[in-house]
Amino acid sequence: MAANPQPAARLQWFFGAIALPSGWRVGVGPMIAATVLTLIVLSALFAPLLAPHDPLAMDALQRLKGPSDTYPLGTDAYGRDLMSRVLTGGQISLFIGIGAAIVSVVIGLLIGLVSGFFRVADAIIMRLMDSLMAIPSILLAIALVALNGPSIWSVMGAITIPEIPRVVRLVRSVVLSAREEPYVEAAMALGSSMPKILWQHLMPNTLAPLIVQGTYICASAILTEAILSFLGAGVSTEIPTWGNIMAEGRVYFQIKPSLIFWPGLMLSLCILSINLLGDTARDLLDPRLKKREG
């Protein structure tokens, strides 16, 4: 395979993913995923315009009703419009997912860079991270939510904290392997300072895996939020999220499955898309796989 002209093959592979017959199957999944995700994000962003009702407005006489002209997807146990809640719920769920991903990636990146480069800090940081990893994340999350009350922020924090050690480990491993690269050694030889090498040479190497990791964190944060709601430690019902809509609806699973079905569908489609895009990003960005494709 060494015989292949590298750049040409890579281009061919890349464009092949979209245009060429042999590659079309590769491209369709991510394309659909991207479309679905865009639709979900748009529907969440424009929820106030799209929602037929105030997602909090209750009508005790209209509890658990089926779909009708007024309530396109029916109502929940408080007589609130399910469709409005699912649409609005997307906002918070996505916010929690994206927020948790960004926060844990940023914090993890900083800690990981430091840890990957300074031996002394490394020993201490990694012990701490091991400890954090050892605590089962769901339990930690419940405890944290109990600590601060179930606001969006504490749910996000609860999801973020257990993810940080994973990000740190990822960044650290990338840094540890990248610092052996000759171009990093060349930079040392050129007299570049450690922070500069760390930030300009090593950090960019972590971006690709971090983007991938970020998508997974985002997906799992949305899911964890749902599980926390299920266990009674989620966000208040005043703030609809896909998770707490489902958690409230689970009691009625057998008599009114739509309460779980619709938020569940949105949640699953969303996570499915994010994961698929994450996988695609990984395949595109992973230099080892790329080499093989070339």
Partner: protein
């Protein structure tokens, strides 16, 4: 130089390839990877397939084995005939039956070509499991027998060993044993000695020759090393960009190459005769190393490992404008010395004086001002440039560190690129847009940008094709003359050392065993190890560039 000169006109064809064309799958417009390749191999014959990287040698061999990567490459035309059957038309099962029984293959990297988690005896035995139904005892006996035939020591122990417990040469012997245990008609050897030290290479080459003789096997030998070709080939095929441009019996080809490409290829092969010694310049010493020592793994509470002395009492000095070569096989400690001098690793003991300043014990921060005096060029051109940075950014990294103005540095970067023979608009481009040789030029330009006194070239041309290698060596020579830099040249290749070095230092197991001018060391070696090294160099008595025997050899 004595070439093989058997006549194969009467011998029967083992394999005949006609008009083999291989393309990237799903892309008919791109140039084919193999374009109508034809060649035949007769019984007992050794056919060498030479060419530079990307010429299609490996694809040819994989096509014969039916091992082209699925979904990436596919044979679209031609025949590969063995025993009257077209291998391209066989189904998967029939093709599997052919492998190891009729055609075998050995690969370049014996480290990666053996499964690291299985015992080697088992891996050889697997060939028998797959193709025969021998009882266990008999099977083992046959495995041990072939292991003896490839001259492995202590076969019972090695039988139970894992690949990582063996040396490179032993692993390659295992590969050969595996390939030959069923006595196939054809052995394909794809650069089987490239990853090995010269002394080991010599043993493996003679082993292949010996077994070939014994079993009457035909060998398709793929290599880029003309020296190896001269040693072993009956017939030589030269490949370029997927085509066979010339083929002839070995002596004919080396003495009277017809094609320009072949001539150019041969002319690029550096000669083993050392360059004429240059006058000792009066310039001051720019790098002096005294009693340098590096010990690994000396401490650790729980570790019981013996410390390794990677370098021991190394001393030398280089004056301005001169080139000192450190030669030695892998593990000799030559790279450790280079990295200690660069302070990429910290020496355990010793002095390193750069521009008159002792730098061995400076902290990283203290060291920074002295970095500019000594720069390095690494072996792997693909990894020594940050792939995310433009060439320009890489070039000005050092100058910016020593406080140069960015605009000025960029302007100078463009000049430097011209100096190393690249277009000056390359500053805006990225490393992947350049070939290996071009990247190595960029790496050299980056080092030169610091205006160093000493340039350390750590196997800087080893990864390059011979033609490119020659150009880069010329460039280094030119720069040295223009700028008067001292060069510390680290290489395992005696030919290269002979071409460029004024002085040579031979290392073995971390010790310097010989030190002298290139002419002394290479023409009149004193130490047994040096002599062994020289004797192992393939084709050492042939002057490839001039198509004749080497004078005075």
């Amino acid at each position: 130089m004595k070439f093989k000169s058997r006549n194969f006109d009467q011998a029967s064809n083992v394999l005949e390839i006609t008009g083999l064309t291989v393309r990237l799958t799903g892309n008919d417009k791109a140039d084919p990877v193999l374009d109508a390749v034809s060649l035949k191999i007769r019984q007992g014959e050794t056919v060498c397939l030479v060419g530079e990287s990307g010429s299609g040698k490996s694809v040819t061999s994989l096509s014969i084995m039916g091992l082209l990567p699925k979904g990436v490459l596919a044979a679209t035309g031609g025949h590969i005939e063995l025993e009257g059957r077209n291998l391209l038309e066989l189904n998967a099962q029939a093709m599997r039956d052919m492998r190891a029984r009729k055609i075998s293959m050995i690969f370049q990297e014996p480290m990666t070509a053996l499964n690291p988690v299985l015992r080697v005896g088992e891996q050889i035995g697997e060939v028998l499991d797959t193709h025969t139904k021998l009882p266990a005892r008999e099977k083992k006996a046959r495995v041990l027998d072939i292991m003896n035939q490839v001259h492995l020591p202590d076969v019972e122990r090695i039988y139970r060993s894992y690949p990582h417990q063996l040396s490179g040469g032993q692993r390659q012997r295992i590969m050969i044993a595996m390939a030959l245990i069923l006595e196939p008609q054809l052995l394909i050897a794809d650069e089987p000695t490239t990853a090995l030290d010269v002394t080991t290479q010599k043993q493996i080459l003679s082993l292949i020759a010996e077994l070939q003789e014994k079993h009457g096997t035909a060998v398709l030998f793929i290599t880029h090393d003309m020296g190896v070709v001269a040693e072993i080939a009956d017939t030589v095929h030269v490949m370029k960009l997927g085509r066979i441009v010339e083929h002839a019996p070995v002596e004919t080809l080396l003495r009277a190459p017809k094609q320009d490409y072949t001539r150019q290829l041969l002319q690029s092969v550096p000669s083993l005769s050392p360059r004429a010694p240059r006058a000792m310049p009066e310039g001051q010493t720019v790098l002096a190393v005294e009693g340098l020592q590096k010990v690994y793994g000396a401490h650790g509470v729980f570790s019981r490992r013996e410390p390794t002395r990677a370098a021991n009492d190394v001393r030398f000095s280089i004056p301005r404008g001169r080139t000192l070569g450190i030669v030695g096989e892998s593990g000799s400690g030559k790279s450790t010395v280079a990295r200690c001098i660069m302070r990429l690793i910290d020496p355990t003991e010793g002095e390193i004086r750069v521009a008159g300043k002792e730098i061995a014990t400076l902290t990283r921060r203290q060291l920074r001002p002295y970095r500019r005096h000594i720069q390095i060029v690494f072996q792997d051109p693909f990894r020594s440039l940050n792939p995310r940075w433009t060439i320009g950014r890489s070039l000005i990294e050092g100058p910016l560190n020593i406080g140069e103005d960015k605009q000025a540095a960029l302007a100078r970067a463009a000049d430097l690129l011209t100096l190393v023979g690249l277009p000056d608009d390359a500053v805006h481009r990225y490393p992947h847009q350049f070939s290996g040789g071009q990247r190595q030029r960029v790496a050299i330009a980056r080092a030169i940008a610091m205006e160093p006194d000493v340039l350390v070239a750590d196997e800087a041309v080893s990864a390059l094709d011979v033609s490119v290698q020659a150009q880069v060596l010329d460039l280094l020579d030119e720069l040295q003359q223009k700028l008067g830099i001292a060069i510390l040249f680290i290489t395992h290749d005696l030919r290269v050392a002979a071409q460029i070095c004024d002085e040579v230092l031979v290392m073995q197991h971390g010790h310097v065993v010989e030190h002298g001018t290139a002419a002394e060391v290479l023409s009149n070696p004193q130490h047994a190890y040096t002599r062994a090294l020289i004797e192992a160099a393939p084709g050492r008595s042939w002057d490839f560039a001039n198509f004749k025997e080497l004078q005075g050899a």
